[in-house]
């Protein structure tokens, strides 16, 4: 005889209450980042980092701007998921919740600043 309620079994979300959502998001963002990361890494390697005008022109191309926005958002989400797991594994007690909140804040800010910067360059006439 199972002690689980029929509702709990029907929802299938397990004891943590969110099922495989975290695990699945980590995997989907991982696949996206493998592609976006390789694109960005090998684009950057060929670029002259000292030449700001050329970098701005490169970012301002619509395809590059779109891929960069995707990269920043996907990386921030993947990083948010991963650092959260690390924090939950090693940090306990009074520090735990403030740290988890701080990680969320840092990632939200990083994602926003990154996207705003790309949009400024792409459509803001920088």
């Amino acid at each position: 005889m199972s002690l689980r309620t029929p509702l709990s079994r029907a929802l299938g979300l397990g004891s943590a209450g969110d099922g495989t959502a975290h695990w699945w998001q980590q995997r989907v963002t991982a696949v996206a980042l493998a592609l976006l990361g390789l694109w960005f890494a090998f684009s950057l390697i060929g670029a002259d980092l000292g030449d700001r005008a050329a970098l701005l022109a490169w970012i301002a191309q619509p395809l590059n701007a779109a891929l960069l926005v995707l990269l920043v958002l996907t990386a921030a989400w993947h990083s948010q998921l991963g650092t959260r797991v690390i924090a939950e594994d090693y940090v306990h007690g009074a520090l735990k919740v403030p740290l988890l909140v701080a990680l969320q804040f840092i990632h939200a800010i990083a994602a926003t600043v990154g996207v705003v910067a790309v949009l400024q360059i792409a459509i803001g006439g920088r």
Binding site: R27, A30, V31, L33, A34, G37, L38, A41, L44, I45, G46, A47, D48, L49, G50, R52, L55, L56, I59, L68, V72, A75, A76, S79, G82, T83, I86, I106, H107, A110, V113, G114, V116, A117, V118, Q120, I121, G124, R126
Partner: protein
């Protein structure tokens, strides 16, 4: 039996390092390093957008040799996490769990990550970019 008397599995400090365990914790280390790398990427983008002076200042920070060393190591962290991440996705498909397979895929990850890092370093150093 009281809590203090229970048999324990061997402590991490006396457990012989194996490729499986070393690569596993390395995935976590490189992931944490890449989280810092995300902040660096955002800083770089924001400095680019902010203007000539801000970007020159950012280049000054990023070009300092201790930062350069960290960035070069960061290239390895990136390729390692990428290769081992693909290994994880392979495992997620339910394959590759036999000990011999796990060891082999571990070495493939390590060799691939080193090779990609050397390739990237070579291109960076010869391209005159960095």
């Amino acid at each position: 039996m009281t809590a203090g008397k229970r048999p324990l599995s061997p402590h991490l400090q006396i457990y012989r390092p194996q490729i499986t365990s070393v690569l596993s914790i390395s995935h976590r280390f490189t992931g944490a390093a890449l989280a810092a790398g995300l902040l660096l990427l955002v800083y770089w983008l924001a400095a680019l957008a902010a203007g000539e002076g801000a970007y020159a200042a950012a280049l000054g920070v990023l070009g300092a040799w201790p930062v350069k060393v960290v960035l070069f190591l960061g290239v390895f962290a990136f390729f390692y996490h990428l290769c081992n991440g693909i290994r994880h996705l392979w495992w997620d498909s339910g394959r590759g769990f036999e000990i011999a397979q796990v060891n082999r895929s571990g070495w493939i990850v390590l060799v691939s990550a080193v090779a990609l890092t050397l390739l990237a370093w070579g291109l960076l150093l010869s391209g005159g970019g960095a």
